[in-house]
């Protein structure tokens, strides 16, 4: 059994950083548009964790409010973004992000 020592808040921040980095890695390395979108959601979640951790630290509830707003915006963004992916799929016939690259020199 692990001794019940209290968890310092910094561990939450480390976790947030790692999740964010994993989200970035997903964005960079995945090719399907929907998976890229999911990586964005992961990044937003990591930021939420960070807000709530700091809110706990400062014993103020404003962090929760920010987190709340982030959630709302993420939901709205998910809706619109998926609609865009739909439109792109209809026009290009592919969901691979690498294939949608005609805006180049």
């Amino acid at each position: 059994m692990i001794p019940a020592m209290p968890v310092p808040l910094s561990w939450y921040l480390f976790l947030s950083a790692i999740l964010f980095a994993l989200g970035v890695a997903g964005f960079i390395y995945r090719k399907s548009a929907i998976t890229v979108f999911m990586s964005i959601e992961l990044m937003l979640n990591a930021v939420n964790l960070s807000f709530i951790a700091f809110s706990y630290q400062l014993r103020q509830i404003d962090g929760h409010i920010y987190s709340f707003f982030v959630m709302v915006v993420a939901a709205a963004e998910a809706a619109v973004g998926l609609a865009i992916i739909l439109a792109v799929f209809r026009n290009r016939g592919t969901l691979q992000v690498d294939e949608v690259d005609t805006m180049k020199l």
């Binding site: 970035v24 960079i28 992000v97 805006m103």
Partner: protein, 615 residues
């Protein structure tokens, strides 16, 4: 006194005819052209009457042109006795030639342009003559060169005319380079360009025995004079300058512009008196050119070319005169030469006009009965130039040869022989044109009065010009050597008459003799006929290497390779390559963009962290 009005009248004529001439009627153009020179002539007489007897020079200070450090140059005008003579020649003879040109150019295109350029020339010549400092003189010097170029190339559609105009200007430019160097040296030595101040400074300096600063200055200025006055080695432009209309040849290349070199040496006599080595060079160049040009003139077939070589030859006499220190004699000969040479050219122009453009002596003959006035006036001129007793040329040439007889006998003998050659070729042209039977196909006729009246006036001056007491008037301030020497006079007259008789013999009495002599001379004749191949030598040694150098080194090497390719194109290429590099950033791939964003944000965090922002 407003002496500046003298050159301004012809300038006004140039501006009016130049800008508005196209829209004016011919008589209006004539009015402005002739009127401006006439006004100038009248005003010259008025000024000289007021300044009489001109014991001291009259200096007029006008607007200050340059004021920089110790250099101060203004539009200052100087009138002394030499200037007075030159002023009368330029405006007087110029006026007569302007009147003549009305008749000569009446059928030519570009009428107003011709008179505009003619007036501009008179303006610049007057500036040259009136200048009180070297810079203003140089302005006039260059200006007459420009007008010479414009007028020689008047028929600019003709390739030969353009070529001759270019040749005149470029060869003059070479001389002017030496002239400029001379001016710079004067500035460095005397810190001023004003004639009066230089004369005052030089009078305190000793006479240079060998080569010194004054000799260098005078020799460089002489280089410019050989270009402008067509002496060896820069005479090659004058025969080709005959491509221009005949009044141009009369005014510019006989009476006025080509005498600028002689005038300059006479004006700067205070410098030349202190550099005997340079004087010797002047005299030697003069006498050699006189003889050399005379020999070429003997075998020419174009009447204007004959007179061109005679101009070079007579200018040689003037150089001989001033080179021997006889400045008054040189100017005197300049004056009489203006009379009879202008008359010779105008007469030739009358002949050409009457023959509808024919200039070859071999196609003339027996014109005496067709053009009596031209015949009579040309006879006066030919006698004057041959030094026939009691004509004007006799007195002036005798003045120079007398000085030569006592100072440098070999120059005297060379000059006397040249007098004989001069008489020979001048009368050769005269006899070939006016005696015998007509060998051409035109309808010869006498010229209109507007052309013959100036001929008559000039003939009177050629005959009586020797009696104007110019010599005594000019040599008043500075002492001259004995101006008359019986022996010299007799010898030179003898040579002259011999020449006339020889020409009579060969061309009138026994015409077949000309052919025999020509074939007997054989290769010598070919050599002289081709002007000793000097033009070809210049072309091969100077012109062609310079052109190749310019083309290969300067054009291909510097212009194309260095400036174009490295700098101009190179900069463009560098920008394009850099842009090409940046292009790879716009790949269109979202993942690449995200990676760049990550890298950028990492950099920003790093920098903020370094700057202590995390605190």
């Amino acid at each position: 006194m407003n002496a500046w009005l003298i050159p301004v009248f012809p300038l006004a004529g140039f501006l009016i005819n130049g800008f508005f001439g196209r829209r004016m009627s011919k008589s209006l153009v004539n009015l402005f052209a002739i009127g401006s020179v006439a006004l100038s002539f009248i005003y010259v007489c008025v000024v000289l009457a007021r300044l009489w007897p001109l014991d001291t020079a009259y200096v007029e200070h006008n607007y200050t042109w340059l004021q920089s450090g110790f250099l101060q140059v203004g539009f200052d005008l100087l009138i002394d006795r030499i200037t007075a003579v030159m002023l009368l020649i330029v405006t007087g003879v110029g006026l007569l030639i302007h009147i003549y040109a009305i008749g000569y150019m009446s059928h030519e295109g570009g009428y107003e342009r011709f008179f505009a350029y003619f007036n501009l020339f008179v303006f610049f010549m007057l500036i040259l003559v009136l200048a009180s400092n070297l810079l203003l003189l140089f302005v006039g010097w260059e200006g007459v060169g420009l007008c010479s170029y414009l007028l020689i190339g008047f028929y600019f559609h003709d390739n030969y005319s353009s070529y001759s105009a270019n040749k005149a200007f470029i060869v003059n430019r070479i001389g002017d380079f030496g002239f400029l160097l001379g001016i710079f040296l004067v500035l460095a030595t005397f810190k001023t360009l004003d004639f009066g101040k230089i004369a005052a400074a030089v009078s305190t300096m000793p006479v240079e025995t060998g080569a010194g600063m004054l000799t260098m200055i005078t020799l460089l200025l002489l280089a410019g004079a050989t270009g402008k006055s067509a002496q060896i080695p820069l005479y090659v432009w004058l025969p080709d300058a005959m491509a221009g209309p005949t009044p141009v040849s009369a005014l510019i290349h006989a009476a006025t512009m080509v005498t600028a070199g002689v005038y300059m040496i006479a004006r700067l006599s205070f410098l030349y008196d202190h550099a005997p080595l340079a004087m010797k060079v002047v005299a030697v160049i003069g006498v050699l050119t006189a003889c050399y040009a005379g020999t070429i003139g003997v075998v020419q077939n174009d009447i204007k070319k004959v007179y061109a070589y005679s101009t070079i030859s007579q200018l040689g006499y003037m150089f001989l005169g001033v080179g021997l220190g006889a400045y008054a004699a040189g100017i005197f000969h300049l004056m009489t030469h203006a009379f009879f040479k202008a008359l010779l050219f105008l007469g030739a122009g009358s002949v050409i006009h009457g023959l509808a453009g024919e200039q070859d002596l071999r196609h003339m003959g027996g014109l005496r009965k067709f053009m009596p006035i031209t015949w009579a006036t040309l006879l006066c001129a030919s006698l004057a130039i041959s030094g026939f007793p009691f004509f004007s040329g006799f007195y002036s040439k005798d003045a120079i040869l007398s000085v030569a007889y006592s100072r440098a006998p070999w120059m005297f003998w060379l000059g006397a022989v040249t007098a004989g050659i001069t008489a020979f070729y001048v009368f050769r042209a005269f006899f070939l044109a006016f005696y015998g039977t007509y060998r051409g196909h035109q309808h010869p006729h006498e010229s209109p009065r507007v052309m013959t009246i100036p001929l008559i006036i000039l003939a009177i001056l050629s005959v009586g010009g020797g009696y104007i007491p110019v010599l005594r008037w000019l040599s008043g301030p500075s002492p001259e050597v004995a101006l008359e020497n019986r022996t010299a006079m007799i010898i030179s007259v003898a040579f002259g008459i011999l020449g006339i008789l020889a020409a009579w013999l060969v061309y009138v009495a026994r015409p077949a003799l000309a052919e025999t002599l020509q074939s007997a001379a054989g290769p010598l004749y070919t050599l002289v006929f081709n002007k000793y191949y000097v033009d070809e030598i210049y072309q091969a040694t100077v012109v062609r290497p310079l052109q190749s150098l310019s083309r290969l080194l300067l054009w291909r090497g510097v212009e194309e390779a260095i400036i174009d390719n490295s700098f101009v194109n190179g900069l463009a290429r560098a920008v394009r390559n850099f842009g090409g590099l940046l292009r790879w950033l716009q790949s269109g791939s979202i993942r690449n963009y995200a990676t760049w964003v990550l890298a950028g944000s990492l950099l920003v965090i790093f920098v903020i962290g370094l700057a202590g922002g995390a605190r």
